[in-house]
Symmetry: C2
Subunit: 185 residues, 2 copies
Amino acid sequence: MKKWITTSYIENFRSYVFNHFIAKRSNHDLSLSGEFDVLECPNWVVVIARDEHKKLLLVKQYRHGIDDFTLEGPAGVIDPGEDPIVSAKRELLEETGHESSDWTYLGKLSANPAFQTNFCHFFFADNCAYKMEQRLDPLEEIEIILVNQSEIKEMIANGEIHHSLYLAALGLYQLHFNSSLEFSS
Amino acid sequence: MKKWITTSYIENFRSYVFNHFIAKRSNHDLSLSGEFDVLECPNWVVVIARDEHKKLLLVKQYRHGIDDFTLEGPAGVIDPGEDPIVSAKRELLEETGHESSDWTYLGKLSANPAFQTNFCHFFFADNCAYKMEQRLDPLEEIEIILVNQSEIKEMIANGEIHHSLYLAALGLYQLHFNSSLEFSS
């Protein structure tokens, strides 16, 4: 298989969190041609944050896609030119008021390669300590929830934690720290 | 925290894979008000598929968001009114030509709650066996890649597998089959 050829790339509209384009593309031998949606999005960061008592810091916030609350890790947009670790530290501080000096990079993944351009960088911040009050964006309401790490599994099983990027973060965490990805025999 | 109130919900445009709306919302005490992007998307399925030789069936396909190939599990859209397991079996058969009679439901997650409405259902299909040729959608080019399960970790670490929903699937798989989510001490 070879890369597809882009024959036109037209901006449809600009929005708050993405810019939408229509790409016309053909496969390499021109046997297939079509129009495809592309959302240009900035890259994101997601943090698994844990304090010195081995509690995970989750943020409860209103998410307008599902019109409901989520429980997830501190997360946000990487500003233009910003190093991902800087974004991760900024989001942790802004959303939870905590800082950490014990950071581990877990890797990066494509957020939704079917129609988004962006990648998400994942970090583990250990021994987070309270530093200052939250400093939220104008339209954010965020409640900090501390959870014993032993409870996370049950909260995923019962649907309290359901954000796919937080699960992806936990998948990367397992690979990094447990050095294994066990499949059943 | 209480749910936000939707004061208007206007369709902006309909596209191939989503319909875009602008929601005007206020928080419960009306101290915050703003406009938010909402992409109405159908629910999706993602399958971790393994054959009788303990090889994982991955699909290599062109993904127009990142304008590049991904290696990921068989996956797709749940048709209106379709039971997720039916969609999962259909996508496995269409994209890989394989069938399984050994299915495990791993759970559902919000695909991107910040601006998408949809959830993704995750399955593990074990002992997949070849049944027939692929039956692809008109604009799909999909190559089937068989990978030893012991190689998956390295392929994630080196970036060959980078789809966040496949990592989320592996996270759910670990929870389901290993009954544990181990955190470092």
